[in-house]
């Protein structure tokens, strides 16, 4: 049975996945910026309030990943914003995050050269989300 999407327990398991990944560890060497994921509300999908995932990432490891408000996530150095359904597509491998950003399905804010330099780390981070078994609110 999965954990509730974008819950504290989900954040803990996501952090564990990131720290278990040797690919992420080497690809994100030198990374020193915070990343915020804004998950926009979709009341008709049983996701009534926007949430923010704040990721404190440093030099190939996740020091902390927490779930708070969208405003918390918007304070990060890099912010990726999308509605709940898009994030679900990313986490279930229906949507590749790189393609999603190029298509504008995921909105990215932050220094572009830096994020491009760490494309491989971003892809592995996305892979880590797919490894966390999730119970989706719109499927309850």
């Amino acid at each position: 049975m999965g954990v509730s999407a974008f819950s504290d327990e989900w954040a803990r398991q996501f952090k564990d996945e990131v720290n278990r990944s040797s690919t992420y560890k080497s690809a994100a060497k030198g990374w020193k910026w915070s990343v915020g994921l804004v998950v926009e509300a979709e009341p008709d999908k049983n996701f009534p309030e926007s949430k923010g995932v704040v990721m404190d990432l440093f030099d190939g490891s996740a020091r902390d990943i927490t779930v708070g408000t969208a405003a918390d996530a918007q304070k990060c150095d890099f912010v990726i914003t999308a509605p709940y359904t898009r994030w679900k597509q990313v986490a279930t491998k229906e949507l590749d995050a790189t393609k999603g950003i190029l298509q504008g399905k995921l909105k990215l804010k932050g220094d572009l050269p830096t994020i491009v330099r760490y494309t491989k780390a971003s892809q592995e981070m996305t892979e880590c989300t797919t490894r966390v078994p999730v119970e989706w609110p719109d499927e309850k």
Partner: protein, 155 residues
């Protein structure tokens, strides 16, 4: 009464001091990303700025797995980014999204040549061999391809 006549199109004049501008009132996400990337690169690197100031070319980029593209119109010191592929391109790069991102991660080595012997470079070279990365017009425009690669590169 003024009549522009059939077949003539009004040309929108783009007046700006910005190095990078967009031809379309609503640039696509891909256009914004590439334009933003080039803008940041030339602001951060005098060598890339010099390349940008010397480059005059029309470069198309088509991302094959999302069916989206842009045309980059370099005018020696300014760039206009168009949504989609426009005519009269000197070179056109066609690749999947991941490969397009990897092109921006190519290291630049001696004499300003892209490095194809490290992990990223080998990956890009393999895509060229497999024809998953195609550069139409490359043969007559090797110098342009290398200059564009240097301007794209975040390394």
């Amino acid at each position: 009464m003024h009549d522009a006549g059939p077949g003539r199109m009004a040309r929108r004049k783009i007046e700006t001091d910005k190095a990078v501008d967009y031809a379309d009132p609503e640039p696509s996400a891909f256009a914004s990303m590439l334009g933003g990337l080039i803008d940041a690169n030339i602001a951060n690197s005098p060598a890339k700025r010099k390349d940008f100031d010397e480059l005059g070319a029309r470069v198309g980029i088509w991302v094959t797995d999302i069916d989206e593209g842009v045309t980059l119109e370099f005018h020696r010191g300014s760039l206009i980014v168009h949504n989609g592929l426009k005519p009269k391109r000197d070179i056109t790069i066609r690749a999947e999204a991941e490969t397009v991102m990897n092109l921006s991660n190519l290291r630049i080595g001696l004499f300003g040549m892209p490095v194809y012997y490290d992990e990223v470079g080998r990956g890009v070279a393999a895509k060229l061999v497999q024809r998953k990365l195609r550069i139409d017009g490359m043969l007559g425009n090797i110098a342009t391809v290398n200059t564009v690669t240097r301007i794209f590169s975040v390394r």
